[in-house]
Every structure is written in C-alpha cells, then in structure tokens.
C-alpha cells in the first residue's frame, strides 16, 4: 500500500512539475518575435512558386514547408 501510494505520488509530482514549466519568454517579451520580418513564410504565394521551381529542377523534395502537388515538369 505504501509503495502504491509512493508511486502515485511520484507520478503526480512529475505531472505537476511538468505543469510548472514556465514559458521562459513571457508574452510581453515577444514583440520582436511577432514582427512580420521574423515569419518563416511571410509570403506563401511566393514561397510556393519558388519551391515549385526547385522541385522541377532538382532531385530532392520535401521538408521545405509546402504541401506541393503533382507536376509533369520534366
């Protein structure tokens, strides 16, 4: 019984400690991060087009942020 209680207590403390992980960048400190120049994809229409250019000319594909579509561009 004592081991069972200790196990449950340990589990709960682990969950509690995970909840207590505070964001190290507070919401009021995120002004620079919210600047549009910090966006990974500020212009999706342009990014989509450039990725299409590269995928039609190179063997590598994927992990470039887009979802792509089929193309007989060869």
């Amino acid at each position: 019984m004592k081991i069972h209680c200790a196990t449950l207590l340990l589990t709960s403390l682990l969950l509690t400690s995970g909840c207590s992980l505070q964001p190290w960048v507070k919401p009021y400190e995120r002004a620079k991060l919210a600047d549009p120049i910090m966006s990974f994809d500020p212009n999706p229409i342009s990014t989509s087009y450039i990725n299409h250019i590269y995928e039609a000319r190179e063997g590598a594909r994927g992990a470039s942020g887009g979802e792509g579509g089929g193309c007989g561009c060869n």
């Binding site: 449950l8 994809d41 992990a63 792509g68 579509g69």
Partner: protein, 408 residues
C-alpha cells in the same frame, strides 16, 4: 509553419495555486491521500490542456502574382492568385489558381524533340479549422497539362503548447498522377490513346517550431515521401556509347527522407537573419544538401528589403549515366539531368513597398512586391550533346516575381 505568438496575457496554473487547492480538498473531503493525488493529477492535466491563450487562424489576405522564368532554353510565365477569408470565429477558407505558360527548347528537347509550347493550370481549395490551441487544415489541389493530370489531398494538424513557445505539426498528403503522351497530327496536339500510366504518392510530415529566446525562433521538419507507379518521362531516351538510343526505364517505386532545420534571428536593430539546412536521401541513391541564408531589412515604415543566397549539391541516382555501355545492359537506365550529379547556386533580392499605411476602408494593409533570383546550375556528369565537344552542361536562369498583397 510559424509558431503562434501570444496575443494578450497568459493565465498559468502556478504551484502556489495547486498547493492551496490541495489543502482545501483535504480539509473538505477528509478522504484518502490517493484520491487527492488523482484529483491533483487530473487538474494538472486539465491545466495543460485548458486554453491559456488561443492559437490564431492564418490572416485574411489576397495575393496576385505574376511570375516569369527564363533560362536554359525554357521560358515559363503566368499568374498565381490566392485568397483566404475567415468565416465566423473558427473557420478560414482559401482558394488558389496558378498557371504555367511554357515555351521550351531545353537541352533535353534539343537532343530528342522540337521546341514546344504548353500550358499547365492548377487549382486549390482549402479549409482551416481552429479550436483552442489546435489548427486543422484540409486542402485539395488539381492540375492539368496536355500530357499530365494530377490530383492531391492534404491534411495537417498543428498544436501550440508550453505557453505558445512550441508548435507541433503533422501532415499527410496523397497524390494521384495520370501520365500521357502527346501526338502531333496535322498540326494538332492530342493525347495518344494507346498510352496512359498512373503514379501514386504519399507524404508524411512532422515538424516542431520552438521559440528559444526573445530574438530566436527555430523549426525542425521531417518529410517522408513514397511514390509508386510510372515515375519516368515517356519522351526521354538514354544514350549509348555507340550512338544508339533507348527509352528510359525507371524503378516503379521511390522512397525519400528529408529533414530540415531553419532559424530566424532578430538583430538588435530592426532586421532579421534567416538560415536553413536540408538533408535529403532516397532509395534511388540520390543524396542532397541545401543551404540558404538570408537577411531582411526594413527601411522606415514603407520599405522592406530582402536578400538571400542558396546553394544546393546533389549526387546522382544509381541508375543514371550520361552514356551507357551497350554491352552492359541494366534493368533501370536514366539520362534525366535532374537525377545526375550537379550543384546550383541562387542569389536573390526582393523589395516590398507598403501601399496602405494605416489601413483604408476594409483594407488593413497592402504591399506591392518585387523579387529577382539568379540561378546557376553546373552538371558534373550530364554532357551537352548539342555540340561535338560533349562538355559538361551548365545553364543560368532568371526568376522574376511581381505581386500585390492585400490584408483585410
């Protein structure tokens, strides 16, 4: 993928609050410690999943782009139009129309065909649904050319967590391609009724964006792509040392892995550095490394200047050769330069001008944008057959984009 940035004040369950609640529960219930512990665990779990702050839908915007590519004997130009609008508080719809008008006399065409003109059209529709800290997106894309039809469906799910410092992302796509050959009869181009092939594709995507500091955000992305079916070009031939030719023969399956790391850093003054690296390998033996660095510099309130440099290097597919030995036959043979060993470099410059300063009518913001990229491709084991010297082939290309963006 962009991590959501908190808008408003975050309300967090602190240790002090949980301790106070625990004492109240023990006093009120007088029950065993086990029940209190399970209640604490439950409250903790709820605290993690309760919306401390909500994620946001993509912005409502309209973009109209004119694109122009010229290089290597190929000219491609056309419009791309994209719009997104929010309906209600949780749903956003998007639509896109894209055209490639192609005039081609590339090195492949010069060695095996005559110059041709073609048009490719692509349409997409999508829906995004937001609930608390989760975003679900569905998209459907279809495209048509005179010898190629493609359809694809895309699903993605993103989840913000840890005070919106972290965004987890997963996505799945399925594609269905139909490959044809064209015939030219009496000046008219039509599809060969005796040739129709299919290829299917699946994409699996995983990603995580992480805010590391007040100035630094990073993103790690992985994508697995599998193809099966008819994967080569029906017009291209391989060349043998004795001058003879034969239709290319590709494997009917292909599986690839790509992983990329990106980072954006806000400098002490208002400007940003961008960096990315992608590693790629696949079951055809192709390996590739891609590096990209960029710099964004706003000027006053109206102007934003961007520059970037990209370098790419690839090793050839294991069934690719520039010239094959007619006395050493292989099951699979390819002479597509996109499967050869080559490297490329791209330098790009871009500028944006804010047309609508503080909003006008229903328009919140409007920009006109122009970018120019110069690309150079140098092939190690693909030769230029247009002249007798058979030197390694190389070409350069210019890519221009002019587009208008409106936010409303």
């Amino acid at each position: 993928m962009v991590p959501a940035v908190v808008k408003g004040v975050a309300v967090a369950a602190t240790n002090n609050e949980l301790q106070g609640l625990k004492r109240a529960l023990i006093h009120q219930s007088g029950r065993s410690n086990i029940r209190v512990i399970w209640i604490m665990a439950g409250i903790t779990t709820m605290a993690i999943t309760l919306p401390l702050t909500a994620a946001v839908l993509p912005e409502d915007r309209f973009d109209a782009l004119f694109h122009y590519y010229n290089g290597g004997g190929l000219t491609v130009q056309g419009p791309s139009i994209q719009a997104r609008t929010q309906i209600g508080n949780n749903t956003s719809f998007s639509a896109k129309y894209y055209v490639d008008s192609i005039s081609s006399a590339t090195i492949d065409v010069q060695t095996s065909a005559s110059k041709y003109v073609e048009k490719r059209e692509e349409q997409s529709i999508g829906i995004t649904y937001l609930r608390d800290k989760s975003t679900l997106s569905l998209n459907y894309t279809s495209s048509e050319e005179n010898d190629f039809d493609a359809k694809s469906a895309h699903f993605s799910l993103s989840q913000d967590m840890f005070g919106d410092l972290t965004t987890l992302y997963m996505g799945y796509s399925r594609g269905w391609d139909e490959i044809y050959k064209t015939l030219k009869t009496n000046g008219n181009i039509s599809r060969d009724p005796g040739f129709a092939k299919e290829a299917d594709r699946q994409n699996f995507r995983l990603g995580i964006s992480q805010i590391l500091s007040k100035e630094l955000v990073t993103s790690l992305n992985y994508e697995l792509i599998t193809d099966k079916g008819y994967l080569n070009n029906p017009y291209r031939s391989v060349q043998f040392t004795d001058g003879s030719k034969l239709q290319e023969e590709y494997p009917n399956t292909r599986s690839s892995n790509a992983i990329s790391l990106r980072a954006n850093y806000h400098l002490p003054y208002r400007a940003a550095l961008h960096g990315s690296y992608r590693f790629y390998s696949d079951t055809w033996g192709i390996g590739a490394n891609t590096f990209d660095i960029g710099y964004t510099h706003p000027y006053r309130e109206q102007w934003v200047f961007r520059s970037h440099y990209r370098t790419y290097a690839q090793s050839r597919a294991n069934f690719y050769q520039d010239l094959f030995d007619p006395y050493a036959p292989q099951n699979y043979m390819a002479r597509d330069k996109e499967l050869s060993s080559f490297s490329s470099q791209t330098v790009g410059l871009g500028v944006s001008y804010n047309l609508v300063g503080q909003g006008r009518g229903f328009i919140d913001k409007g920009t006109v944008n122009f970018s120019l990229d110069h690309m150079r491709y140098n092939y190690d084991d693909f030769s230029d057959l247009s002249n007798s010297s058979r030197n390694p082939y190389h070409f350069s290309a210019n890519v221009m984009q002019l587009y208008l963006s409106l936010w409303y």
